[in-house]
Assembly symmetry: C2
Homo-oligomer: 251 residues x 2
């Protein structure tokens, strides 16, 4: 587990920080990274402010195997991600020739400077445009930073196109036992179960269901057998408390 | 605007980073902070790992007026927020006497060490337990850090209870003009409009609606009159493009 690649997501967007927009890209990317065996260690939401973007890119790209940015690569004045990424790497911005050619052919007389901004990438030998199957404009990679759109459908297409370029670790699996118990009644025994399965990360997530206390105990690991053994102990514990546990094995 | 209080949200939770849970606390807190005139500058999602929590708390509390943490204050082994906050401030953890008394009275024979963990706070004169109207266990403040639960309903109750302790700035207002245009067709003129209204932050958010290109242009400012003037220019621009604009004035 310890040598699996790590990742950080940088969400560049005033619209999230203002509360206007509910982010959904994190859940998608996080789920896919888990399947790919890449450990998502951090997400940051940062504003459309150059210094904030440059600082976050440089702090995070030095810390994690991969950085995924979302947002700010459109044609309008508030789309400043590529300029900031270039600045973080000490590069200039250039138009990617093939993207520019395609945009000019597509837009004809509607081609303008604003649209052509969407063909821009930082310069450098470590910059790689990543075409995707769904959208006209590509995402790109510079070093260990993958730059993607903020619109969820476009973000997802760009992420899937980037997958072949990612190193993978052992996939993280998870299963759960859900039951009508109170966290305070299972906490001591759950601590003991966690101690017996150090290769499994056990999380306890309480909620209310039908006006009753409900807990979902989630076990995460690369070791499916260890998950199943840990879940089995949780199920026995919950049954002893009449919690009518329901086990969802790792998939 | 520049002297308004600033804020950062720290979401402590493996369940977000694994993709299992869709965070909704950011949108709620972000919206409320906007109403209170507090500028949300950053959110971070960090794992249930002590060093990650301590480092993020210390980095962010030195940078922003307020930090709001969500998650990790329950009774189970994976609830480590209070221990980590105490470590970040160089404090010990103690049981808050009134909360402990109340828990013992409520739980009676079901009182146990795990439950009593929920009465813990760091020690120190700058620690303040913040009771809320809905839940048994309180959030608390230490210095400029407000510690809240992760469960959305509890988080919201704890946030509202913390509001009286927050300094406020001028409320950030926002309005929008929505229309069936393409971003690339409005980008140049939108840049010019932004330049004429430096006190307004103008964002452009494209999407598809009824299979047509659609853009929402959002104007944010503490100056309602300036928002209205900027939106009026955006509306005229969109109408000239037959974009059938619809204006939503700031509320």
């Amino acid at each position: 587990m310890s040598d699996a690649p790590t990742a950080c997501i940088l969400i560049i967007g005033d619209e999230i920080l203002s509360g206007r927009t509910q982010d959904t890209n994190v859940k998608f990317i996080a789920t896919r990274l888990g399947e790919l065996g890449i450990r998502l260690r951090e997400c940051r939401v940062i504003p459309d402010v150059p210094a904030a973007i440059v600082d976050a890119v440089n702090a995070c790209r030095a810390t994690y195997t991969y950085i995924f940015t979302t947002g700010g690569i459109g044609p309008t004045h508030d789309d400043i991600t590529t300029a900031c990424i270039a600045q973080a790497f000490g590069r200039n911005v250039m138009r990617h020739p093939e993207t520019e050619r395609r945009m000019r052919a597509h837009y004809g007389d509607s081609t303008n400077e604003a649209r052509l901004k969407m063909s821009e990438v930082p310069d450098g030998l470590d910059v790689q445009v990543i075409e995707n199957k769904s959208y006209f404009t590509p995402g790109y990679r510079i070093g260990n930073v993958f730059v993607m759109a903020g619109i969820p459908m476009v973000c997802q297409a760009m992420f899937e196109a980037a997958v072949p370029y990612l190193a993978r670790g052992d996939a993280m699996r998870s299963g759960s036992v859900d039951g009508f118990v109170r966290e305070g009644d299972i906490a001591n025994e759950l601590t003991a179960i966690q101690a017996r399965y150090p290769s499994v990360g056990i999380g306890s997530y309480p909620s209310m269901r039908d006006n009753r206390y409900f807990v979902s105990v989630v076990a995460r690991s690369t070791d499916t057998a260890a998950i199943n053994r840990a879940l089995s102990e949780v199920e026995i514990m919950m049954r002893a408390l009449d919690g009518t546990p329901e086990t969802h094995p790792p998939t």
